[in-house]
Symmetry: none
Subunit: 190 residues, 4 copies
DNA sequence: GATGAATGAGAGTTCATTCAT
DNA sequence: CATGAATGAACTCTCATTCAT
C-alpha cells in the first residue's frame, strides 16, 4: 500500500533494462540492425512494445547503448598491462580474446555484422576508437620492441589476423588451440 | 521498327538484368539487405519498380542471384591450378585475392556484411560451398605437402587470416604489400 | 507529523487541483487539446502522471473542468449590472474585456482555438451557454433601448466584433485604445 | 494492354490528389490538425493509407499544400482593384467575403481553428502574408483617403471586425445582410 | 517489355490510461 | 495521497509486392 521508494524504482529500472538489452543483443545478432524489429525484441524480452520506449529513446539509442556497454565490458576484461606488453601478455591477450568469443558470441556476431554498415557503425565509432586506441598503441610498442621495421603495419596485420580468426571461429568453429599455437609460432613465442 | 527477333529479346533481357544487378549490388552494399529498398535499387538502375519483378521473383531472389553470379565470377577468375597448388600458386592466389578486393569492394562489403546474418546467408550457402570446396581441398593438399601435421586445420587458419585481412583491408585499408610479404614469411616462401 | 484533519486534506486537494489546472491551461493553450499530452502537463505541474488521474477522471474531464472554471471566473469578474446596461456600463464591459485578454491570454488562446472544434467544444457548450445567456439578454435590452430595430441582430453583430477584435488582439496585438474608441464612435458614446 | 502514357498518369495523379485534398479539408476542419489522422482522411478519400504518402510527403506537407492552394484560390477570387479601393469596392469586398464563407465553410473553419496554433500555422505563414499584404496596403490607402487619422490602425480594426463576424457567421450563423448593412453604416457608405 | 498507381502488412513511435506498491 | 512502470491502441510512415494499362 505504501508507495515504492525511489530505490525500488531504480532497481526495477536497472533489472528491466538489462532484460531488454539481453533480448536486444540476441535479436540484433540474429537479424542485424535493420532486420530486427522492436516488436521482436519486446517479445523476446517479455515486455510490451510501448515499454521499450520507457527505457530507450528509440531503436538507435537501444543498439547504441547496448554496443557501448558490451564493448566497455569486454575490453575492460582484458587484464593485460597495455602499456608494457611482452610475449607473455600477448599470449594472454590472444587466449582471452578467444575465450571472450566463447562467452559472448552474440555480441561478436552483431559487431562483425555491423562492421560493414557504416551508417549504423558510426553511431558508436567514437566510443569504440577511444577504447581501442590504447590497445593499438600498446601493440605497436610491443612490435617495435620485437624489432619489427614497421610496427604500425605489423599491428594492423596482427589485428587483421585476429579479426579473421575471430570471425571464422564464431561462424564456423576453427580449432582454437591450433590457431593460438600458430600465432605463437608466427611471433616465435615459447 | 522491325519486329525484334527472339534473340534480340533475349539480349535485352540479359542486359537489363545486368543493369539491375549492378544497381542492386551498389545499394545492398551500402545499406545491407534489410536496409535497402526495391525502390532505391530501381531508381539507381533507372527502371520502374514494376520492372524489377519482371526480372526477379522477389527481393530475396534478387540478392540470391546477385550473390551467386558475383561469387562464381570471382572464384572463376582465380586462374590457379587448384589441384596442384605450389608456393608460386599460393602467392598468386593471395595477390589475386587482394586485387579482387580492389576490383569489386562493393561485393565484398556486402558479402562480409551478410556473413553474420544466418537468415540471409543460408539462401546462398549451398552454392557458396560448392564453389569453395575445391579450393579448400586444394589448400589442404598443399599444406600437407608442406609437411603440416594438421593440414585441414592449417587450411582453416589460412582461410581465417585471409578473411580478416580482406575485411580490414576493405574497411580500414591495411598496407597490402606488407601483408602479402608477411604471409609469405609465415609460409617461408621466396 | 500529526494526522491531518479532513479539512486539511480538502485544502491540499484544492491546491493541487489548481496547480494541475494552471499547468494544463498553459500546455493546452500552447499545443491545443490533441497536441498536448498528459505527461507534459504533469511535468509542468510537477506531479506524477498517475496523480493526474487522482484529480481528474481523464483528459476530457480535465479540459472540461478547466474551461468551465476559467469561464465562470472570467464572466463573474464582469461587474456590470447585466440587467440594466447603459452607455457607461457598455464601455466598462468593453474595457474589462480587453483587460481580461491581457490578464489571461493563455485561456483565450485556448478558447478561440477550440471554438472551431465541435467535437471538443460541445463538452462545455451547455455550461458556456448558461453563463453567456444573461449577457446576451442584457445587451439585447440595451440595444433595444438605444432604438435599434433589430436588437437581437445587433447583439450578435456586437458580439462578433468583440470576438474578432479579441482574437486579433491576442494573436497580432491590435491597438487597444484605438479599437475601444472606434466602438464608442459606432455606438455614439461620449 | 499497351502501357499508360505519361499524360494518363498525370491525369490520374491530378484527380486523385484533388480527391485526397478534399477529404483532408473535411477531416482537418472537423478535428483540426492534431486531432485528424491520416487513416481517417484516407478512409474518407476512399484510398489506402499507403497511397496518401504517394501523393504527399507527410502529414505536414498535406495540410500545408492544402492550405496554400485554398488560400490562393480564395484570395484570387476577390476581383476588386486592390490598388484603388473606393466605397463601392469595399462593399464588394465585404459581400464577396461573406459569400466565400458560404462557398467553403470547411476551409474557414480550419483556418480559424489554426489561427491559435502557432506551431502549425507558421508552416504557411510566409505564403499567407505574401497574399494578404497587398490587401492590407490597399485598405490602408482607402482609409487614408477617407480621412482617417490613423489608417493603419483602422485597417487593423476593420480586419478584426471582419475576422470576428466571419468566425461567428460560420459557427453560429449571424444575419449576413444585417451585418453587411451595419458595416456600411459604420463607414457611411450609400 | 514497361510503367507507376495502389495495397496491406508491419515498421517505429506516442500516449491515455491502469495498477501495484 | 503519490509514484512511475506497464500496457495496448492508435498514430505516422515505409516498403515488398501486385496489377491495370
Amino acid at each position: 500500500m505504501s508507495p515504492r521508494t525511489p530505490q525500488q524504482f531504480e532497481n526495477i529500472r536497472t533489472e528491466k533494462k538489462q532484460i531488454i538489452m539481453d533480448a536486444a543483443l540476441e535479436v540484433f545478432a540474429q537479424k542485424s540492425y535493420h532486420g530486427a524489429s522492436i516488436s521482436q525484441i519486446a517479445k523476446v524480452a517479455g515486455v510490451s512494445k510501448g515499454l521499450m520506449y520507457n527505457y530507450f529513446k528509440n531503436k538507435e539509442a537501444l543498439i547504441s547503448e547496448l554496443l557501448i556497454v558490451q564493448f566497455n565490458r569486454i575490453f575492460d576484461s582484458h587484464k593485460i598491462n597495455i602499456n608494457n606488453i611482452d610475449d607473455h601478455e600477448l599470449v594472454l591477450f590472444i587466449e582471452k580474446s578467444f575465450s571472450l568469443l566463447d562467452e559472448n558470441p552474440e555480441f561478436w556476431k552483431l559487431l562483425f555484422g555491423l562492421t560493414m554498415q557504416t551508417e549504423v557503425l558510426e553511431i558508436i565509432m567514437p566510443q569504440m576508437e577511444k577504447v581501442l586506441e590504447p590497445f593499438l598503441v600498446g601493440f605497436t610498442k610491443y612490435f617495435a620492441s620485437k624489432g619489427f621495421d614497421n610496427p604500425i603495419a605489423e599491428t594492423q596485420f596482427f589485428w587483421g589476423i585476429m579479426d579473421g580468426l575471430s570471425m571464422d571461429y564464431i561462424t564456423m568453429g576453427l580449432p582454437k588451440e591450433y590457431c593460438i599455437q600458430r600465432i605463437k609460432d608466427i611471433y616465435k613465442i615459447d
